[in-house]
């Protein structure tokens, strides 16, 4: 049991994935000698060498395509796309080739590709380096989407992603890189599609990921002092989504609040709320609220970016509204 940062947990997850399976290789821009633009691959190249840890040109389309080609020939590529925003540059490879390859060939190929990318706002990188890009991929069946929020999940979900036989998009949140937490020497496995109940409570079910999970927890603790007990659920993977855990919680709380970084349109929060309503309408005693960002790009200036992200206060207010409804 040691205390490490979220960043270090990712690095250990990558290192252990490479140790566990010789078919795993790591590649991307500046991931080898430089140890990654975010230092999430620090020391990996030194440990595993040129054959298994490779720097690439600035060619995201080539990176994704190479991962696909290597995967269908028996390898387990772990590719880095530096900022998740750059997934737009290789979007075709991800949504038209990677996601559909197995299906279009009637199951002749499997694509055990993991693409890890730095996600999200709050760090002053501006509109083209701050998007919560997970929402771009929700309407493309065939992709698994992982959004770790803690040190242990950062590690365990990296392991699960690389071991998974389907394409997995692993989004690490830039705002969490420096967060510290305990990482056991033998981290328990986490399956993709299994949520974590962060906090139990009988009044309101709150679902949140990454940065917002931590803000929601802070809000929940405020509310506890007001006598409102929040059940906080972190789905940890958006695809597949652990609907059973959310439903079980709603059967007790009958109130749902989803907190997400990013605007409402085409988002995972809206997808979750819609799903709950298809079978669970009767469960709800209050409107299932979505706390999210404004319908704007991510602004640069500190106060503007801060206002774009849901704050603990906004979350707490929404919980109050939901509880009182």
């Amino acid at each position: 049991m040691t205390v490490v940062t979220y960043r270090q947990a990712i690095t250990r997850g990558i290192a252990d994935a490479l140790s566990a399976d010789d078919d795993v290789f790591l590649f991307g821009e500046d991931v080898a000698r430089a140890g990654g633009a975010f230092k999430t691959t620090d020391g990996i190249w030194e440990q595993f060498g040129d054959a298994r840890v490779l720097d690439t040109p600035i060619s995201e389309q080539a990176i994704v395509g190479t991962a696909i080609g290597a995967a269908i020939r028996g390898l387990r590529p772990l590719a880095e796309v530096m900022f998740a925003d750059f997934a737009a540059v290789c979007f075709d490879g991800i949504v038209n080739e990677l996601a559909k390859y197995r299906y279009m060939t009637g199951g002749q190929v499997t694509c055990p590709v993991t693409i890890h990318m730095a996600n999200g706002a709050g760090t002053g990188f501006g509109a083209q380096h701050s998007q919560p890009a997970e929402n771009w991929f929700l309407n493309t069946p065939g992709l698994k989407v992982v959004v770790p929020a803690t040190v242990t999940d950062a590690y365990a979900l990296m392991r699960a992603a690389v071991e998974d036989d389907d394409p997995v998009l692993y989004f690490e949140h830039k705002g969490l890189f420096g967060m510290r937490g305990e990482l056991p020497d033998d981290v328990p496995r986490v399956e993709l599609g299994v949520a974590e109940t962060v906090r139990s409570g009988e009044h309101v079910t709150v679902v949140a990921t990454q940065q917002m999970r931590h803000r929601a927890l802070a809000a929940a603790e405020q509310l506890a002092e007001e006598g409102v007990e929040v059940e906080l659920i972190d789905p940890r993977t958006l695809v597949p989504f652990d609907h059973a855990t959310v439903r079980a919680s709603l059967e007790r709380t009958n109130r749902l609040l989803v907190v997400q970084e990013g605007s409402a349109g085409g988002s995972w929060g809206g997808t979750l709320i819609t799903h709950v309503l298809q079978e669970g309408f009767e469960l709800l005693d209050a409107p299932p609220l979505l706390v999210c960002s404004d319908e704007t790009p991510v602004p640069y200036a500190g106060p503007l970016e801060a206002a774009w992200l849901p704050t603990v206060e906004r979350i707490a207010d929404a919980i109050r509204r939901t509880a009182r409804y």
Binding site: L54, T56, I63, M104, T110, P112
Partner: protein, 325 residues
Amino acid sequence: MTSETTSPALDQDVQLEMLRAMHEIRFFEDACHRLFASGAVRGTTHLCQGQEAVNVGALHALRADDQMTCTYRGHGAVLAKGVALDRSFGEILGKADGLCGGKGGSMHLTDVARGALGSFAIVGGHLPVSVGVAFAARYRGTDEISVCFFGDGSTNIGAFHESLNLASVWRLPVLFVCENNLYGEYSPLHTTTPIEVLADRAAAYGMPGVRIDGNDVLEVHATVTAAAARARAGEGPTLIEAMTYRQKGHSRADPAKYRPDGELEAWLARDPIVLHERALAADGVAQEQLDAIRAAAERAVEEALERAQSWSEPAVETRLEHVWA
């Protein structure tokens, strides 16, 4: 690197086999033309009559364990890789026993067991995949080669650039075979491309590039044999520009009115099958034998089509399979 037409004459059995293979493709494509023209099949198809020598010459110069990717205009490449006629028809007809169980269609013929790794419908989409296939071969210590067929118009898309660059930096065993049939859809090459000889683009990647007569199956065979030897020796990729001609329109809907007068006729006079038959006759092969090969191919295609037409359609539930591993 210069083209290798001066290489030792090829064993006549191989030459006759290549004739058979070209006939088979020609009859297959003619049958597809009828199927779509008659409305018996929905959607669209992209035929390769006139280009058979490129696929056949290249793939007969390679080994069964070499790996091939191609485009929506890939029937010829897939059949030249030894894929069954009936299951290919079956896929185009959307049958349960088609290569992809009816999930892929005319643009996605795939038979991984034969090293026909996939037909891709997004221009440029498979070039980076072919790089990954070559990477896997080297990573796994095999001396397999990755061969990638694509068109002249595809050399203007970004993925072409990124793929050739990366393949060259990593000195990977890929053969990039550009089937220059003078048109991208309805646009003659010169309207979209500021240079004449596409093989010259290889220089931008420090890669050998060679332009050859794609209607001369022996020249294609000799060129690919040399490039393959280079690739297997670890000397990296080659760009081969095979000059050829698309005798039919771009796709089902295209009557190809845009061709200058006489162009088609001139190319029909250089039909790759006719040229090869002539060469074989000059080598003393009896006309009867040539005719027998042609007749056998025609029969094989007819019988394969009849079989495929007799197959059942996929059960609707099967549409839910093969999204995930």
